[in-house]
């Protein structure tokens, strides 16, 4: 914490302490669900969508939309934290745990690159997407995931800043070595833990 104080600043958007404890450092409480995207929103036909896991795996696997729908879905209540400073508390998504998907392919590497329709990528160590920490979700608060929020399907990795939860996700490439994804090459932190305020390079 710095010793600098801002003259005449008292803070007019303070939240009750029970909520404040759920806000990582530097975040503010947001009621809406802002959209942040590097380019135009891609148009993906939900029936054409599929999810694959490839790269360093015993056997690559692709799920069609119909095959994916037959997998066990779970509801995931969570708080989400965007690196642009807003946090949304008590939201929920519905989707398939990465544990279910990865069990089918036997990963041989320790890292993953999530890749999306439109070319977006983001890197994640496997330990951040296993043991009930990550999902591929197709619903938000009981509705099909809107296109602007990544529909038909996005990653959900709520314990990391939300750019790690790739929108319009198409698959995971398992890798032996870590590589930076899109924002990770463009100034943002390689891991992005909001509780450690890992926003930018060198944080």
């Amino acid at each position: 914490m710095s010793s600098f104080f801002s003259r005449g600043f008292s803070g007019r958007r303070r939240v009750p302490s029970e909520l404040a404890e759920r806000l990582p450092p530097g975040q503010y409480f947001e009621d809406g669900f802002p959209v942040l995207t590097a380019g135009p929103t891609p148009r993906i036909d939900a029936a054409e969508w599929g999810f694959r896991i490839d790269g360093m795996v015993a056997e690559g696997r692709e799920w069609t939309a119909a095959e994916f729908r037959a997998l066990p879905f779970e509801t995931v209540p969570c708080d989400i934290h965007c690196v642009t400073k807003w946090s949304k508390l008590d939201t929920s998504f519905r989707g398939v745990s990465l544990d279910v998907l990865l069990a089918d392919v036997e990963p041989l590497g320790a890292y993953a690159m999530a890749y999306s329709y439109g070319g977006y990528t983001t890197n994640l160590p496997l330990e951040d997407i296993t043991d009930g920490k990550a999902w591929v979700v197709t619903e938000h608060e009981g509705e099909p995931l809107p296109r602007e929020h990544g529909g038909p399907a996005r990653m959900l990795v709520p314990h990391l800043y939300f750019w790690k939860s790739a929108k319009w996700v198409a698959g995971l490439r398992i890798m032996d070595d870590d590589e930076p994804g899109f924002w990770e090459q463009n100034g943002y932190h390689n891991r992005g833990d909001p509780w450690k305020e890992e926003r930018y390079w060198n944080d």
Partner: protein
């Protein structure tokens, strides 16, 4: 003409530092520009942002990000143009409290995607809605000083004549549209951006930068792709919630 400086390679941003407010310019009734002098200034890329951190006496902290409006040729400091949001916390502080000579904690510059480096294929079309024009102005100001031969155009949507930021700096490269109320005698485009406006301004364009509210960016992005731009050459930046 100033010397063309090569694009700055991406690099780690600076540490938190205490800037001094050197000048404040009233742009519109709700928008002001703040010239900040930085003890540890480094050149930025047009389009990058800084984080601002306010700290109350009891340690309560609020942080927000603001786009840089100035060219990196203005060494030693940056200009941040701040739109006062009614339910905001940091922007009202700037508008209601901050005076010239005050000190403000800042850190940056950040992010290297929504930036104009000077080597993107021209023509370049900038499409801004409201205060979304701020990072685009950094690009236009820098282009005028370093690459005046580069074809760079600006489409700028404002609600009314009173809402035009940087009004005295807009030139022939700029196409304005008044989404709510055009000034008396206005013969240009009126109403929200549409296919005709974007197709005209983007004719032949290879690279686009779009900044504004979510709805504005969704519309502009689609219109640019419909006008023939490749999606990967349409870079977008948004602010505000969707309401969903």
């Amino acid at each position: 003409m100033e010397r063309l400086i090569p694009p700055v390679a991406p690099r780690a941003p600076g540490r938190w530092q205490v800037a001094t407010v050197a000048a404040i310019k009233v742009e519109t009734p709700t928008v002001r520009s703040y010239r900040l002098e930085l003890p540890m200034w480094m050149p930025h890329l047009p389009g990058q942002h800084y984080d601002v951190r306010l700290t109350a006496p009891d340690g309560y902290v609020a942080q927000r990000s603001y786009s840089i409006a100035s060219s990196p040729l203005n060494a030693g400091g940056i200009e941040l143009t701040i739109d006062c949001l009614l339910d905001g916390e940091v922007s009202p502080y700037f508008h209601e409290v901050v005076e010239e000579g005050d000190r403000v904690e800042v850190r940056g510059p950040f992010a290297s995607y929504f930036v104009w480096r000077g080597d993107e294929p021209p023509p370049v079309v900038l499409v801004g809605g409201g205060s979304g024009v701020v990072p685009l102005m950094a690009m236009l100001r820098h282009q005028r000083r370093t690459a005046p031969e580069t074809d760079m155009r600006l489409v700028y949507s404002v609600r009314t004549a009173a809402d035009v930021i940087y009004a005295d700096e807009l030139g022939e490269e700029t196409v304005l549209t008044y989404s709510r109320e055009p000034p008396a005698g206005w013969t240009g485009h009126a109403g929200r951006i549409d296919a005709e406006l974007i197709a005209g301004a983007a004719a032949g364009a290879m690279t686009a930068y779009v900044c504004g509210s979510h709805g504005f960016v969704e519309t502009a992005g689609s219109l640019l792709v419909d006008a023939g731009l490749r999606p990967e050459w349409v870079r977008t930046e948004r602010f505000g919630p969707t309401g969903s």
